[in-house]
């Protein structure tokens, strides 16, 4: 095992996949000469040259669409969005072109393409830079959505996403880039999409989550442990494909579940997970499934308000206590 940051893990995955397949190239704002806005692409220009590591103009719709066209024609582009918040400008090409091309051509055009970048809030970036964008992509069949929480998952899932023959929205987190963790020193660490990871085992309550919120869930589980409550923390890792079997297995064990997500609640990821649990494990539930999400407001700037708006470990503990019918301690 090597200890590396999430950023370094992504960088290693990109480097390995570009070495492995000459059709893989990276395009986005500041990815080449600047070494990446978040330094994820550091050193790649020097190694692969300007043909494969390409600084784009600030034209999200244009360069996303260009890469979709390149994918149609047989290349395997990796598109970096400086944040998925800027990708709202490009979503026409993701949904109307990339996600539908295979279907409306009846199989003639597989679309191997990865759209990657941070999603969700960092610190005090305010309303237009803090949206957790998963749901926008999940709503549409034809796009896979991957949300790694740790360096090992970041590396293994990015490699799998680049090799996947469907469009993948690969969602990272600005606050995750410096997060350190052990990464297996496997020459070819590929983590299949659609396999959740039980990050912590417990038998009293299931905390199901994805992405950055895995760490909030782990903090909550540590607090609950002090109260004598053992929580499962299930990291979905990819949202479509969704490891429903793992969700149901955890719920069948604990009979109680809380979904934690960074985004808004209305039709959020948790809404789908709750629907699936009640459809397929209703009789296993001892309590309604609760969700902990961002407050239903645009992200405020003021530090105190931002803290209030975000899901927190305390809110997760509170939700777990409610599904356990435990009074406030």
């Amino acid at each position: 095992m090597a200890v590396m940051t999430y950023r370094e893990a992504l960088n290693a995955a990109l480097r390995e996949e570009m070495e492995r397949d000459p059709d893989v190239f990276l395009m986005g704002e500041e990815v080449a000469e600047y070494d990446g806005a978040y330094k994820v692409s550091k050193g790649l220009l020097a190694k692969f040259g300007p043909k494969r590591v390409v600084d784009s103009p600030i034209s999200e719709l244009g360069f996303a669409g260009l890469c979709v066209g390149a994918s149609m024609a047989g290349l395997r582009p990796v598109v970096e969005f400086m944040t998925f918040n800027f990708a709202f400008l490009a979503i026409d090409q993701v949904i109307n072109s990339a996600a539908k091309m295979l279907y409306m051509s009846d199989g003639q055009f597989p679309m191997p393409i990865v759209f990657r970048g941070p999603t969700g809030a960092a610190l005090q970036l305010s309303a237009q830079h803090s949206v957790a964008c998963e749901t926008y992509y999940l709503h549409s069949p034809g796009v896979k959505v991957v949300t790694p929480a740790t360096p090992a998952d970041a590396k293994g899932l990015l490699k799998a996403s680049i090799r996947d023959n469907d469009p993948v929205a690969f969602m990272e987190g600005e606050l995750l880039y410096n997060f350190k963790g052990e990464v297996p020193e496997d020459e070819d660490l590929v983590i299949p999409l659609g396999v959740a990871d039980l990050k912590r085992e417990g038998s009293d309550v299931s905390i199901v989550t994805h992405g950055k919120m895995v760490h909030v869930a782990m903090q909550a589980a540590a607090k609950l442990e002090k109260e004598g409550v053992e929580a499962d923390v299930l990291d979905l890792r990819s949202l479509r494909p969704l490891d429903v079997d793992a969700i149901l297995a955890s719920v069948r064990k604990t009979n109680r579940a809380v979904y934690v997500e960074e985004g808004w609640s209305f039709l959020g990821v948790g809404a789908q997970v709750v629907a699936t649990i009640q459809e397929e494990a209703f009789d296993d539930l001892d309590a309604p499934v609760l969700r902990v999400t961002q407050a239903d407001v645009p992200m405020p700037y003021a530090k105190n308000l931002e803290i209030m708006a975000k899901p927190s470990a305390d809110r997760v503990v509170e939700a777990c206590n409610r599904v356990l019918y435990r009074g406030a301690r």
Partner: protein, 359 residues
Amino acid sequence: MAHTKPRKKAGEAADVFGRYGVSPELALELLREMLLYRRFEEKAEEAYAIGKIGGFCHLHIGQEGAAAGSIKPLREDDYVVTAYREHTQALAKGVKPGPVMAELYGRAGGSSGGKGGSMHIFDRGVRFMGGHGIVGGQVPLATGIAWKIKYREEDGVVVCFMGDAAVNQGAFHEALNMAAIWELPAIYVVENNQYGMGTAFRRVSLVDMVEKASPYGIPASVVNGQDVLATYAHFRDLAEAVRGGGGPRFVDVQTYRFRGHSMSDPVSGTYRPKDEVDRMTHQQDPIVLLRDRLFEGGHLDQAGLEAIDAEAREAAQEAADFADRSPPPGPEALYSNVWAELNPHGRLNFDGRGESPWR
């Protein structure tokens, strides 16, 4: 096509072929193509009227010269990407009439298995890259296909068609800027029929069409799309210039739509007067203009024309027969090709119907 124009002198007509470097034989071939497009679209019009074709159906009648003149000079390994008025462009690039008509009918034998419809004709085998329904959305796609050609160090070109309304979309401007800075082998073609649905181009742009690419330093030109010989010669030269690494080009192909925006729209009305449509239909029909030149040069007579037209009508009828014979897509087609790849364990389908192979 019953009317005739005042005849020019035979000598002038003969010069036309020489001037454009298009032999009379090739001109006859272009006439054959355009007549096929016309008869095909008329057959589609007929089929739409009796409910065999549903949804939106945008006919190309009047614009045949723009399709034949721009696509016929291309090589087989060149690419065409376009918008949703694309039936005849598909035929020009080599998609067979039967599968195009079957696609309009929503049948299994359609070029997209009946799942795309009139606006989404695709044929990877002949490098016809669709059939895209969002105005301007195909322009970045074409730029990406041109990117692939340069990336793989090939020598093909991409011809990207769009209507005149597309040039006001951001996608157009972003894509042309990138094609210019990276010197990509793309020809951006505005099939300028002067109306974006019911909005005249002059109402939505203060500058002329040919100026639209000038901010990006892309050489631009104008050609009369009703003159198929001029259009052919223009694209033959452009394709070679671009193929040699000359970077992108922008062309304003001036043409006119003889029908409504789609089958459900009026031919004329508040947005364009009937006498304008009548004048263009009677004086600027690309098929009639070429016919007259061939007549005048002595390369075609009435009997020859009738024989060519009979072939075109037969081909259109065969396409309709093919579509009629083709069954609707089977129920399994509902879920096929949503995804290219199944992943272990994970579920991709959430409709709860239990019929999907995608879990």
